[in-house]
Symmetry: none
Subunit: 194 residues, 4 copies
DNA sequence: CATGAATGAGGCTTCATTCAT
DNA sequence: TATGAATGAAGCCTCATTCAT
């Protein structure tokens, strides 16, 4: 049960972190964006990193909850993946930049540095992958999907959805391409052999 | 024709940047890794950022050269993509960490921050995407590939190849999965419908 | 309305700048002299140079105000010059070193270097010369003074007053010589011809 | 008997020191201006300061020699001062900037800092003042000049001549004013009382 | 003698964090 | 709780000086 202030700070921090990245973001930036004094931030967070971890944690938790919910629905694995893909794609293509905060890229960012962040985050990332993998495994079991390493499938799934984020830099009208992209995940880039 | 020292510094810098990331890397770290004095670095590079740009530039140039070479071969678009995928996949799964320096992630890292880096790099990134897109366009033309936005196709291609990098964190035996992953790009995760 | 701290820093900076000069003065020196932490200085000044500019500005403003006041008094140009000379002479011979911060020498110091300082200061220096020149022009008009270039007259006036500063290095009892020196400015070093 | 190289370095150093001042001048600047390698400079001078001292020394020696020569001529003190004034004035108004290297200002520059420079220079400065003072004393003795402290007279004399240097910043056509300025030294700024 | 690549001490400045109010 | 002035550790970069060639 977070206080209003804490929520306000997190919101502000997310905005700034997305815009500038972790290191270039100054506590002052966050304080200003949140409309609180710098000192106030330290009443709610022990340090800069913990704000970041907190944000990542929130997002991952939400995604995990979402995946759990979808995972439990009485629909086919394919339908589950479609639903998830749509949501991810829309988030990624809408929010721009947000991804740098939420997705797989963070694994990289945290390599070797910010042990705390990595430790605290790794577990949730794994959980997320596992939930996706579970759906894929289910799909494989029901012959809906090819037999592949489910985790690898999960990663590919995430990366393809994630593509929508980068696409903005090179292409216009990304959102409209959702179905086509999803189609590649499911059916490949090759046309159906007659 | 770079001097020995410059080469030595670049090598060292790459190692450190990959290990720690741009911001946490200290000039001292690079100097120490290169076995030179701090000041020496500034004989060859104007500042920390320019070392990074230089590295990125080198790698991108190599990738571009490679794509150009493949692009000119007298083989089908599909064969070109296969060759490229194999090489990228192997690089990504071998070198670990290296990717954080070379791939699409950098687009993200450089968003908003480090204008110079972005400017200097954006062009080469675009070129790289364009070369891939050209191959895809060619494939579409010859009905080898579905009709999709070629740049989007290029991005998806890169992201799938890139998956191999992240995969190490969650899966063992990534390298062995190359063909299966490539297969997903070409034919999708769905099994061939009867 | 400057804060206490800012005032304290300026006071300290003046002391150190006078003692050591601009370049050899370290921010640490100023911080120590002011009894604040190094970082604190940057809460009030953007950089070392701006402290210097600020000091110069203050002093020049005071001198300008003084010249304006005298300039408006209902007394002869000669009387104005006498008053001004007395004040300058006393300042210069009292405070020692202070001059290096305040007087014409700075024109020199700032030539070619530290554009910002020069730009910000040049205007006030000119203003000061102009105010003196105005008095001299007035004196010429009323036949109290010889017809000379008023600005040149102003400069000579300042330089002679300034002599008292250097004099300490070579002579004792400088202060007692004020009237004699002033006399040279007004009547020259030659004895009255019969 | 200085070598060519040494002479070349000194010439270059003088140019640069005058343009940029002591501290902002880099050894590289001097080397480049002299057309020699940086290391070469250290074959002839122990350090940056000693170049400066050497320059100052040269100039002062020349001035001293000149004053000695004039001092020994069989002419009145007044004539001697006129000759000296003319020479100084021309130097000062010609070379611009040079003064910062040669004249009284250096006393200031060396306050507290650069002990070596001060020590090595003080003596020559004194000698220079003494030679001028001697002429003034002589003038006083012969009733050509008012009875004032000869050293103070010497300083005033130098400062007035020096005015021509600063004047460039505020006035055009400085050189043409030599006689008028000299006149002020001899007869003051007040018109001859009827 | 001459070179200029290499060194590394030291300066300025930033910014996460603290703490008195 | 909230503030924001103050702190000072730490990083980037410069440049006088050295030294192997």
């Amino acid at each position: 049960m977070k206080s209003d202030k804490e929520e306000k700070i997190l919101k502000a921090a997310e905005k700034v972190f997305i815009k500038k990245g972790f290191f270039p973001t100054r506590i002052d930036d966050i304080a200003e964006a949140a409309g609180v004094a710098k000192g106030t931030i330290y009443l709610y967070f022990s340090d800069k990193q913990s704000i970041y971890v907190s944000l990542l944690d929130n997002r991952l938790r939400k995604m995990i909850d979402f995946l759990k919910k979808i995972g439990n629905e009485k629909i086919t694995a394919t339908e589950k993946l479609e639903k998830i893909f749509n949501v991810l794609f829309d988030i990624f293509s809408d929010v721009k930049g947000m991804i740098s905060l939420v997705t797989i890229e963070n694994i990289n960012l945290t390599t070797e540095i910010m042990k705390e962040l990595r430790v605290k985050t790794k577990h949730k990332f794994s959980q997320l992958i596992d939930l996706l993998a579970k759906i894929i495994r289910e799909g494989i079991k029901h012959k809906e999907l090819k037999s592949i390493n489910p985790k690898m499938g999960a990663l590919i799934f995430l990366n393809i959805a994630h593509t929508s984020f980068q696409a903005h830099m090179f292409i216009s009208g990304v959102k409209e391409q959702r179905e086509k992209i999803k189609d590649i995940f499911f059916y490949g880039i090759k046309p159906k052999s007659k």
